[in-house]
Amino acid sequence: MQLNILTICYLIGSVTFILGLKMLSNPATARKGNLIAAAGMIIAIAGTIFLYEEGGQKLGNYGWIFGGITVGTIIGFLAAKKIKMTAMPEMVSMFNGMGGACAALISIVEFNHLIHAYPSSDLPVATILIILLGLIIGSVSFAGSMIAWGKLNGKVKDFSFKGQHIFNIALLLVIVGLAAYLIGWTPVNANIIFYAIFVLSLLYGVFFVFPIGGADMPVVISLLNSFTGVAAACGGFLYDNKVMLTGGILVGAAGTLLTILMCKAMNRSLANVLIGSFGGGAKAGPADAKDQGHYKEISLSDSAVVMSYANRVYIVPGYGLAVAQAQHACHELEKLLESKGVEVKYAIHPVAGRMPGHMNVLLAEADVPYDKLLEMEQANDEFPTTDVVLILGANDVVNPAAKSDPASPIYGMPILDVELAKNVIVNKRSMKPGYAGIENELFFQPKTSMLFGDAKKVLQDLVAEIKNL
């Protein structure tokens, strides 16, 4: 009877996950979708705690269970609430790692059960296989997510050595080999081998993420995310538990597609991201900087004048704005100009910054009203009637090469056509290239004038200047 109700709880869970994910992929319903999935999760968890039985045997250790849940809830809730909006990808990576760890731990405990229950000579093959899968994928996802987390908050620097990829492949082969040995030959020292696999998997996770450029972490996290999904699905097989199975597979599949979509948005291939060939490009870029002719600079006071006497000023935020944490200063400037009767809007490129929606999050944090943010298409329609475009730490997303130069790595990526506006003022600290590591001829066009300096500082000075006009 109770088991029947549990089945239904799980059924509800699975369906809410699907609906939730579906609604999450549409701006109008996204938030509701998230809540629906959460509700389903609660039902599934509560059902498990109170209704689950194995051989007529209910679960015990309620104290431990509720203790763990309480601790986890408090920490998780606070962490998620306190974190700065711009640091959210780190958080996601962290939580994803936790999921991986959970899967790995389950495998470890179940394995211990097993080797006590059976003589290691005849362990049930299928079960072992699933346990190992959960262990390996879980560990990789855990270790990888931790590195990604470290990279995003700057604790871990990019690092790679020659033949890294060969090394990784070798490592992977060893892991698979050991696993096969453990399953096929069920040796007496199964224990040791099992833990060796565990350690090596962690190691692999680390080395898998290490060489990948910090900027690509969103993509990597999305990939690890789908890994964790598969690890969870293994748990589903292990306990013949439908909600774990479906939920896990769902995330595994959707996560994989999402990863690919993310790469497409920056138009790169997944392979290209993982092997990180952009790094190379970055070096190549500045080399041929010389033969680009001249750029003209503009003084703070001049920019102040130009902007405050313009009718319409569009701001193009980019990664640099996030680096400089200049969103508040930027909002300052916007309000000041508006008070002078200038129409100010933000032109948001879908992949500006380092994660999709990065700019939206950033500006939302500074309470920039949402209707001031224009999507790319809309902005491109309005640039021709714009007097001044102020580019704050954006580079690739306004690089005409994406349209003109088939050789360019970003060729084909839709960009913001700022050249259509009357004047373009570019703020960055130097002539250095951006993420894609390529020159930007925009900076050398007659229309364009450079305003060097850290975005935050420059914006604060601009505000001061305009006030004193």
Partner: protein
């Protein structure tokens, strides 16, 4: 070989569920706009927190004198909960910013 075949027949319904779920997972997010990539990732991340159920089962089955199992299970429950709670809360916060958008819509 034959073993594999038998396994497939024995678990054919499982296999169907997995295959269909893959189709659903792919189709369901096929039309997501890129500004939603991050919240969607975060939401999916929260969903695979369902692995917590495994942790609860492990914990609940552990004999009360098997301290290793208890400790590991306890840890598993904690990290699993982290994944679930943190995941959904972060996603919700990310999506707050789309609230305003709905207004004009």
């Amino acid at each position: 070989m034959n073993g594999v075949l038998n396994w497939i027949t024995a678990n054919q319904q499982m296999i169907y569920i997995v295959i269909l779920m893959i189709f659903v997972g792919i189709e369901v997010i096929g039309r997501v706009p890129s500004v939603l990539h991050t919240p969607l990732m975060s939401g999916a991340n929260a969903i695979h927190g369902v692995v917590i159920i495994g942790a609860i089962i492990v914990m609940g089955k552990a004999e009360s004198d098997n301290y290793v199992a208890l400790a590991l299970g306890f840890l598993a429950v904690i990290v699993g909960t982290l994944n679930v709670v943190g995941g959904f809360v972060v996603t919700d916060r990310m999506l707050e910013m789309f609230k305003k958008k709905k207004g004009p819509k």
